[in-house]
Amino acid sequence: MRQFDCNPGGVVPVWESGASMDRRGFLKATAAGVGLGAGVGGALGGLSRAALAQGAAARTLRFVPQANLANYDPIWGTQFVVRNASMLVWDTLYGIDNTFTPRRQMVESEEVSGDGLTWNFRLRNGLRWHDGEPVRAADCVASLSRWMVRDGMGQMLRATTDELAATDDRGFRWRLRQPYPKLLLALGKNNTPVAFMMPERLARTDPFQQITEYVGSGPMRFNRNEWVPGARATWSRFDGYVPREEPPNWLSGGKRMLVERVEWVIQPDPGTASAALQSGEVDWWETPLNDLVPVMRRNRNIRIDIADPLGNVGVFRFNHLHPPFNDPRARQAIAMAISQPDYMRAVVGDDQALWQVMNSVFTPGTPNYTEAGSEILTRPRDMAAARRLLAESGYSGQPVTILVAQDLAPLSAMGQVSNALMRGLGMNVDYVATDWGTVGSRRASKEPPGRGGWQVFHTWFAGADCTNPASYLGLRAHGEQAWFGWPSDPAIETGRDKWFAARSAAEEKAACEEINRAAMISQPFGITGFYKSYQAWRSNITGISSGPLPWFWGVSKG
């Protein structure tokens, strides 16, 4: 019995290759042997294919992502899966590390004037696009201009930008009308849309139109011809990538790819994904279903760990425009009545490692987490007091429309708990079970619930977005301009402005405490808990670490 590798001229015995042969491999080899009997030419072809397949598999990392990669423009489409895939192709000027500190990435140096209004950036030498052209400052200027239209922090920067222009091939200047202390964080954050750098010809695309080429300067090239949306996307290592010398740390440091090829295998069915991981057909599964984790734990070839320590925040979003939740007392009544353990057990099950109660609007375990003013959440749950408060708000049995997406398991689970909770408070619940596409559309309606509007919907915020106010859209409270639900609370907005102006960690923390106090009174949204998820991978894969997104650099396959 022989095992073949990718060496077309060599046949390596299995005991020398160190590889093992499974039953399916045996069947394939047998089939090849049958081919040998049928005809030498055909058999040689069969052996060559088997050999190539074995070798290619060893150099290919097969990954099951959280969702389908349906488009590939990280500025046009801001879904997390697009952002995650884009990290392979496009690089950033800065990148945050695991302390949320922005570190230089494509940038070699920066200078800021004493008044904080003029920034001069210099790119690293030798950076190249995947088409071989050098990365120029003009490319970065165009990329930033496109990104600023779509990103929250970018829009703030755009409003205060006086000039953004290249000074030479490697340098560009950014002149502001007002200081913006969070500039480097804006350029290095991981929240969508990320400030990815693209060639100028792509970056000149209208930010509300998709790009048509996928050329970046990141560690992998996108194989567009192999892309089958809904099924597969592949990347090949870009040999012209110039990694930084520093070790990789989240979005910063040297992004050294240790595999030659990354293959995303879209798996619509979690049961199939689990089986594929167990049988070795895929190497790494980003979001295994919690129910399947015990089964996979029994397989000694599979490793399981928390995927993202920043987790997710479960959200009970109120519509602040219409009764009863246009009255803060009704929102406070819900906050008082919510039992986060009930929600979390419905969402992630009984695995205590996966969830915790969250008595703040900021992500637990991060520097800005604070329980200042959170008594409404920390004191014992009091349903009678909540009912009284709801009555004081003027609620008297009108239908309350809750939109519940059934195709996303966490939202479906939260919806069922909310249904019981609101009925327990004596509310007349109009439970709209639908799909996320419909929720996404209907939640944009400001009409009264009886005319196509709504009063409640569930979603979750990525914990990474809730570490500070920078990209925390759900916390915005500037009325009709705010995110769906349109809360209005000047105190939250004032605290947010203070955070952006803060120049030290202590000032930032103080601003976050102010925001939290205000949010606990006005309740822009109810918090249903903080939860994490697992990731699973084959034991021959090394270098996988936790983070707000899957990092492919430093991952190798044994």
Partner: protein
């Protein structure tokens, strides 16, 4: 015959037009908004509105329908809202796996179900008959995805004989192609086998009670000759009809089977497009399925003349 065929082919045009109008209208009135899906959860209402405008979704129904029909008449199904790829390209990427799965399933089903149905009719009332009909009931009753999971567990995970998921093109070799399709074809074929086996049995029983069968027996014809030459050929018309109708079952079943076995076919493309409200893709795929179904029915009608010379068009 030729005139009939031409008439039937021409008749597909108004059928397709009605399907097109129906699909377009249905999607227009259905809730959901692709712009909201594209923009993501963190998008502002302004972002969603601008994306909607850039996609042309804010224009009147008749304008959008007119443009779409105009493009379809030129053979252009449009461009996917999400992937920015032409719908024809996406269909081309996906048609081989679905076609492979369906052809293999039909071959498997016909080659298993017809002998089983004949056997059950021949051995009517015996344990063999009951066993075949019991299996048919099981085939009808157990959902495709359950059969799929059980097969994958036994033959892929436990025995490691076949892969759990995926699809390999036939251009990569016959065995890699076949090994990925064996389990899905069996899972998808269950209902189909049950349907054909039952109709074969029922039709054969009717035919076997005819006078000419008794005459054939009296003339000393052998059992095999009676079953397969005299009876089965005369029972073929209803069986072929059911095989044709079953293609619709297969299309529906392929959606589930392709998801369970992660086969990148048209079924999954349809589901993904519906969930995202990717209107051009939904419209293109539904039109294609309708066209295929119309053609299959035409082929069945024409096949009648082969099995029953009395039928003339």
């Amino acid at each position: 015959m030729f005139a009939y065929t031409v008439r039937r082919v021409l008749a597909t045009i108004p059928v397709m037009a009605i399907v097109a109008l129906f699909v377009f209208s249905l999607l227009y009135i259905a809730p959901g908004d692709p712009a909201a899906v594209i923009a993501g959860d963190q998008a502002t209402p302004d972002d969603v509105e601008r994306i909607r405008a850039s996609l042309g979704l804010d224009r009147p129904f008749l304008v959008r329908f007119g443009e779409w029909v105009f493009r379809i008449l030129q053979g252009d199904m449009g461009v996917s809202i999400f992937t920015n790829l032409p719908v024809t390209t996406m269909i081309q990427q996906r048609i081989e796996p679905t076609l492979s799965l369906m052809v293999l399933t039909v071959c498997l089903a016909v080659s298993v179900a017809i002998p089983l149905g004949v056997l059950a009719a021949w051995k009517q009332g015996t344990i063999i008959d009951r066993a075949v009909m019991g299996m048919a009931v099981l085939g009808f009753s157990v959902p495709v995805f359950v059969v799929g999971y059980v097969l994958a567990y036994i033959f892929a995970l436990e025995l490691d004989w076949l892969p759990v998921q995926g699809y390999t093109s036939m251009t990569e070799g016959f065995w890699p192609w076949l090994e990925n399709l064996i389990l899905p074809a069996i899972a998808l074929g269950g209902v189909y086998i049950a349907l054909i086996a039952r109709i074969t049995r029922a039709t054969m029983l009717e035919v076997l009670s005819q006078d000419y069968i008794r005459t054939a027996r009296a003339k000393g014809a052998g059992q095999r000759s009676i079953l397969f030459l005299h009876a089965l050929k005369n029972a073929a018309v209803p069986i072929v009809t059911v095989i044709g109708i079953g293609v619709a079952l297969l299309i529906g079943g392929a959606v589930v089977t392709e998801s369970v076995f992660a086969i990148p076919g048209l079924g999954r493309l349809t589901v993904d497009a519906i969930l995202r409200r990717d209107y051009p893709v939904i419209q293109g795929v539904v039109l294609l399925f309708s066209f295929v179904y119309v053609l299959v029915n035409l082929a069945i009608d024409l096949l009648y003349t082969l099995f029953d010379p009395r039928i003339r068009y």
